[in-house]
Structure formats: structure tokens, C-alpha cells
Amino acid sequence: MPDVGKNAEFEALALPLFDSLYNFAHWLAQDRHDAEDLVQETYAKALKGFGSFRPGTNFRAWMFKILRNTFLTSRTGLSSSHTEPLEPGDEDRVLPVTSHTPETLVITQDLGEALQQAIEALPLASREVLLLADVEEMSYHDIAEALSIPIGTVMSRLARARKAARQKLIESGYARKKGTVARQ
């Protein structure tokens, strides 16, 4: 006899996260089919492990954690983490000081697209923290939970990820240094 209670509870909690999980999966895997497999496997694993989910911890963070761990152990995930340079002195590193000449975002129609390319080009460690913070609007606490890193590391990685994305926008002419003229 199926355990209707447990499954219904899981469905009520997990299904509303479907769109967010898929979007995140696609950003990680950068491929539609891999993303679909990833999401399906995430739900299967989460349902199986639902008994071990501790009430009181954040369910959303828990789902994203399963998805991300599934990705990291997948073929794409393994190859992408291998080809990525390790960031030196990553943990709790003091943030680089912001430049004295702040840049200004030039809001244009293509800005969103340029930003997507900038995010795509970020190393995985930066990309995932940026997406969880700014797209999923997760708290640092929940991001720390999802990525299994300390909160201090969330804070420093996120600040650096935003700066790196902005730097790419400047390079492609969508943001400019204060007082200079933007390229087309």
C-alpha cells in the first residue's frame, strides 16, 4: 500500500519548486537534455531521502543541495569542475577593495542578454552562488546549506561573482566606468 501521506507531503512541498529547479539545472548543465535528466533524478533522490529530511531545516535549500550534488557527480558536472581553475585562497578571503571609479549600468534592451552571457561565462562556483542569491533570492544561510559552504564564504563568493559579472558587462560595453562614454 503506498504511503499516501508521505508522498502527498513531498509533492506539496517539492512540486512548486519545479520551475526554479529546472532553471537552475539548465544554468548548471547548460544543456536542455542534461537539465531534464538532472531534475528528474533530483526528484527521485529527494523522494527516496525524504524520510531523512529534518523538519525545521529549509526544504528548498535541501532540494537545491540534492540537485547540485547530483550535477557535480554527473558526467557534465565532473568535467566542468575539472576544467575550472580552482580559486586561490577562496575560503573567507577578504574582499578586494572596490575601485574608486564606480561603474554605471547603461540600461539597454540587450543588457539582459549580455548579463546572461556574463553569468554563463562565470566559473561554476561563482555562477551557482549568484543564481541562488539573485535569482532564487535565497538567504545566505540557505545558500550556505545548499552549497555546503560557510556563510562567510557565501558572502565573499557572492560579492566577487557580482563584480566579475559587472566586469564582463563593462568589457562588452554594457556598463561603463563613471565619467567615460559607453561604447555602442
Partner: protein
């Protein structure tokens, strides 16, 4: 603390992730530092564009259906009695339903209020915060006539600590409105007046309620079909005092 030191905390400040004490001292620093405020505005802008651009991929509907089937077909774990399990599920689902709906509404409301605070910060950080510069409400009010599909009254400030700096057009929740900037001692207050409806009336209360967002004090209410916001880093008492003046004038 130097500006460089403050600026290392700006991202966490924009995310409202600093300890309350640091949030307050940062707000104090920002109110007197255009350079750090300009940096903050950029971070907030970038966050907003990322939020939109990051929602890039949508899943095929068949995948959702497939996963739902998977969940519902999954055989039992554990030996619960069927009826008890079902009753419990009903309770849990009702409870969860609320738990899921409430935070997302709160999140939507917080986003809306953050947008209002964002407009306040952006205007003050810009080179010309107001388009009509006048301390006279009889000059400012007519400036909006013809630009907005509604009218409103501005309060008489005599005997109050407030001064009127001027006004500009604003777009919030993609509707046009009036943005008035007032001063009280060393602080600025923004007043936003727009037509009520949509997300405003869905997410915000009719009667004034105080909030804090990014260490700014915010209040909002609705009257006569219009939605009012007052935003400032000034004390909550100043914010509600200006709100009172506006309510009496309208």
C-alpha cells in the same frame, strides 16, 4: 571606518544580511556619502537585472507531469496504516499550503517595498533628484497636472519640521506616479503617490503600516483610490508625522 572598508560590506548590505547594528551604522554612513551610495545603487540595479535575466529557462510541461506521476506511483516506505496516513496528509497539506503561500506573498511584498526604497535611493543619488525644484506646494502640485491621470493635495508645512524640495515623475509597478522629496533636519524623505490597484492593493494594507527595508523606514497606505508611500532613513516618527500631514491634506 574608511569608505573602502564600508564598500566591502555593500553587497551584504544590499542583501540585508548584515547584523542589525552594522545595518544601522551603514545606513548612517550612506546618508552622508554619495560615493558609497552610488556603489550601492549599482549593486541594487545589477541584482534587479540579474533577477530578471536569470529566469532564462523554462522546463517542458511533460517533465513536470512525468515527475508528478513518479511521485504518486512511488511505492510505500514504512508501514503506516492507510487511513491514518491519509488523515495526517490532509493536515500536513493544509498546513504546508499556508506555509508555502505566506512566504511567497511576503517575498512579493518585500520585493515591492524594496523597489520603492530603490527609487528613493536612486533619485537621491542622481545628479538632479527632482525635475521641479520648488519649496512651494502651489508650484509643485500643478507641475504634475497633465502628466498624471489623477490629482492629489500636498500638505501645508507651516509649523512642521518638514521642507519641500521638489518633485519628479516616477514609475513603480509599471504605473506612473508623483515622487516628492521632502527634508527633515539632515534627512530626505520620499513621498510616492500612485493609483492604487494591482500588486499594490493585493500585497499592501489599506491602513498605514511601518516597515523597515535596507534600514530605511517605509510606510504605505491607501485612500481615495490612491496609494501613498513614505520612505526615509529618518526616524520612524518623522516618517509617520509626514504621513499624517499627507492624510489630513487628502
Amino acid at each position: 571606518m574608511t569608505c573602502e572598508a564600508w564598500q566591502t560590506k555593500l553587497d551584504a548590505y544590499a542583501d540585508a544580511e548584515l547584523p542589525a547594528e552594522t545595518m544601522r551604522s551603514m545606513a548612517e554612513h550612506l546618508s552622508g556619502c554619495p560615493a558609497c551610495t552610488a556603489e550601492l545603487v549599482q549593486i541594487i540595479q545589477q541584482k534587479r537585472v540579474t533577477a530578471l535575466a536569470g529566469k532564462r529557462y523554462s522546463a517542458p510541461p511533460e517533465l513536470r507531469a512525468r515527475i508528478r506521476q513518479q511521485i504518486e506511483a512511488k511505492p510505500a516506505r514504512g508501514g503506516w496504516q492507510w487511513a491514518l496516513g491519509l488523515a495526517l496528509a490532509a493536515v500536513v497539506v493544509i498546513g504546508l499550503g499556508l506555509a508555502i503561500v505566506l512566504p511567497s506573498r511576503t517575498a512579493a511584498r518585500n520585493r515591492l517595498i524594496a523597489g520603492v526604497v530603490d527609487s528613493h535611493i536612486t533619485a537621491l543619488a542622481s545628479a538632479s533628484p527632482v525635475d521641479v525644484v520648488s519649496t512651494d506646494r502651489h508650484t509643485v502640485k500643478p507641475w504634475f497636472a497633465g502628466k498624471l491621470p489623477f490629482t492629489f493635495n500636498l500638505p501645508e508645512l507651516g509649523g512642521s519640521p518638514f521642507t519641500l524640495d521638489g518633485g519628479r515623475m516616477v514609475y513603480l509597478d509599471s504605473r506612473p506616479g508623483a515622487h516628492l522629496i521632502y527634508g527633515v533636519r539632515k534627512h530626505h524623505l520620499s513621498v510616492f503617490i500612485l493609483q492604487d490597484g494591482g500588486d499594490f492593493s493585493r500585497l499592501l494594507p489599506t491602513a498605514a503600516e511601518p516597515w523597515r527595508s535596507l534600514s530605511f523606514n517605509v510606510t504605505s497606505w491607501s485612500a481615495g483610490g490612491l496609494r501613498y508611500f513614505v520612505v526615509s532613513d529618518a526616524a520612524p516618527e518623522d516618517v509617520s508625522a509626514l504621513a499624517e500631514l499627507l492624510k489630513r491634506a487628502n
